[in-house]
Symmetry: C2
Subunit: 207 residues, 2 copies
DNA sequence: AACATGCAAGAACGTTCGTTCGTGCCGCCG
DNA sequence: CGGCGGCACGAACGAACGTTCTTGCATGTT
């Protein structure tokens, strides 16, 4: 058994019902959107009272920010680990980075959906911090592209936007993936790794 | 002059303030999201009264549906026209389809953002009709991929999901494109056409 | 002249929203 | 033992929401 899709985004935080509230908020925002879900919905899903939410988070916005922070942190850690464990050439590193990213999208599909769709409802430093998180993860891919182009592994003439194109593609997996679909988690990851390397115009074996 | 980006999505419909209301709704939903924008916001942007909106549309949902219908119709028409005017080979057809699609994303950036982000707040037949619109446009790309694979132009081993990957990539352009950015409208379109053909593992000239 | 129709506006209704307040319980530290 | 901070709850507040109601004014048709 390795049913990663049923793992909650936030494990126990050592603070009463905090983890339950965060996971409930993720579910509520994912199902109805940030503005469509109410704090009463979140409380109901978490099995606690409306007013108790404010013992943990000062506002609805901060609650969303905290959910997204957990998602971004875990995503970045997974990608960074995968790249560190990969070989030294850009092709291997890109393949492992994409595989890890797609793996996270599959494991935490709802978190990825909320992360991309609801960030816009945050403002000020909460927003800035999350955008910085996202940019840091994107920069990992950007660096691999640069390395591959410098070493001649990637022959795309449009290196500057390639990382963004690849990440757009894998982010969108969250919008259509279904656990009972045609492809397994691993196949999906491997397939998107090939899409990415092909987009970069890296040499690939054809059958 | 060819400033396509300032063209309103909906031209005069021959029914009083209908076009103004639709364009105002697009602006409001784009800026605040469907649930974040109020009918009062829409009325203010359209320069009319709150209650008058209901002389044109029976509900907020129907208003959103009508906005999205205009966007989808125009997008599909542009892509279909581009493919019809292209050569017979899959490579030319895919290039022109992507160029037309990216062109629309640039020209009607807000409409594309709202179209992908807010469709989820519709239900019933409004939702079904818009999903069918989107699927029809996606099917154009799917057919080109099939043709290219059948004729040996595209050598990707993962043809079934390639169209979706390409469309994810070009849809995301709406999330980051800025008119004063590094690339012109035409360069952006051409670049993404190459990304698409590379992803499909079509033969490409390397410098 | 009488009437229907389409478009416009202001006021109001009932509901839901995010947030606050007051209170109480429980475990820990002095 | 006493106090204090963390966690829990129900009730309430003021604001904002989508929608409806009523009225009024044009225009074009009978």
């Amino acid at each position: 058994m390795n049913d990663r899709s049923s793992v909650l985004l936030v494990a126990d935080t050592g603070r009463g019902n905090e983890a339950a509230i965060l996971n409930a908020a993720l579910a509520a925002f994912g199902a109805q959107g940030f503005n469509g879900a109410s704090m009463r919905d979140v409380a109901k899903r978490a099995g606690t009272s409306l007013s108790n939410l404010y013992n943990y988070f000062p506002s609805k916005s901060h609650l969303l920010a905290e959910v997204l922070r957990h998602a971004n942190t875990e995503l970045e850690a997974r990608v960074r680990r995968a790249v560190a464990d990969a070989g030294d050439d850009a092709t291997s590193r890109m393949r492992e980075a994409v595989r890890a990213y797609v793996g996270f999208v599959v494991d935490q599909q709802l978190a990825m959906l909320v992360s991309t769709a609801e960030v816009r409802y945050l403002q000020g430093e909460d927003r800035a911090r999350l955008v910085a998180d996202r940019d840091r993860t994107q920069a990992i891919f950007g660096a691999i592209v640069e390395q591959g182009v410098a070493h001649g592994e990637f022959r795309t003439p449009h290196a500057a936007d390639a990382a963004r194109a690849i990440l757009s593609m894998v982010n969108a997996v969250a919008t259509w993936y279904r656990p009972d679909g045609r492809l397994s988690r691993g196949q999906l990851a491997e397939q998107h790794a090939r899409y990415a390397l092909a987009l970069l115009e890296a040499p690939l074996p054809h059958v």
